[in-house]
Symmetry: C2
Subunit: 199 residues, 2 copies
């Protein structure tokens, strides 16, 4: 019973992600159904509502892209600074891949509590990474002395937010490389006691 069903379920998730990623238009349930090649109602046999489908798609994407593994790499860094940079690279590089689904979920925030929860959950997880990087920085004595770890985490969290990426890359048209470079600089300047300069 499960093999066919799982195939369709997976096909739905893949199609949903493709539609969300490639297009800037609105993705309706009927759009997804048509793209998958099933009826709109069949969609509801697999996912009870739009929010659940989007959340499932997010989880699927994480699994496929191995988000945890990527972000875990930053934990291996020895110095606090290296760890900060590794985290910026990891998360900053992940944003473009989840941007489509992320903004679809964000658009549902106001109307759907479940979507809002999924959004928050995701952002909170990201904040954990920021907090860890800030702690490592502080342990090395490199955190700007007038910042608490909490405030520093908030700052890094905001700098690395998907909205910031969207603004710089989508709106201003920056390349991913330019984004990475400037955001790293920005974070360094915001968090580090004695700002880095190329020696």
């Amino acid at each position: 019973m499960s093999s066919v069903q799982r195939d369709t379920k997976t096909r739905i998730l893949e199609t949903t992600l493709k539609l969300l990623e490639s297009g800037d238009k609105k993705v309706r349930m009927s759009d997804i159904a048509k793209a998958v090649g099933i009826s709109r109602q069949a969609l509801y046999l697999h996912y009870p509502n739009r929010a659940d489908l989007l959340i499932a798609a997010t989880r699927y994407l994480d699994r496929v892209k191995d988000a945890d593994a990527r972000l875990a790499e930053s934990r291996a860094a020895t110095s606090g600074l290296a760890r900060l940079h590794a985290y910026i690279d990891a998360w900053g590089g992940y944003i473009p891949e989840i941007h489509g689904i992320l903004s679809a979920l964000r658009a549902m925030r106001d109307t759907d509590a479940e979507a809002a929860a999924a959004c928050d959950d995701r952002m909170d997880a990201m904040r954990q990474g920021c907090a860890a990087a800030v702690r490592a920085l502080n342990a090395d004595g490199m955190l700007r002395p007038d910042l608490t770890e909490d405030t520093a985490t908030d700052l890094l969290w905001s700098i690395l937010s998907a909205e910031m990426w969207e603004h710089l890359v989508k709106r201003c048209g920056w390349t991913q490389d330019a984004y990475r470079a400037e955001v790293t600089r920005l974070a360094d300047g915001a968090l580090i006691a004695t700002p880095q300069s190329t020696p």
Copy 2:
């Protein structure tokens, strides 16, 4: 003919703004009508659709809050750095007052072309202010040498974006003062050749 009409029109705008500002919930046409004390259909006699109403409300807010005058103050600053800081103060202080309507318009971006245009228009105007501040900074030789004026403007524009304010103040719970202080620091670190430090 006009006095009564203008009164109702103004009352609609004021009510709309109040609803948008004070509540985090969704504001429907019927909500506005009920709050004004007229029928939903009477709303359409004054404003043909929701987007037009929101846009009119934005313009009304600008007029009431005298946005131009505030932002113009920053142009009076003598040094580039003073001008940058004056602009950050002016715009950063204006965001909380227009945040409600701004995010309502932003939520309509995907579905309504006119709302998207109004949003872009507003953000572009803000970018002009950023560009002017960056030019003044560059004229003083204080712009980080590896930044073009365009790139620097993009950076400042992103740092001062309403999304950044929302993240730090609404999400992280910062006070407006903390926001102002850290964002100023952030902008300084991002744009200025030799970063400021308290002597």
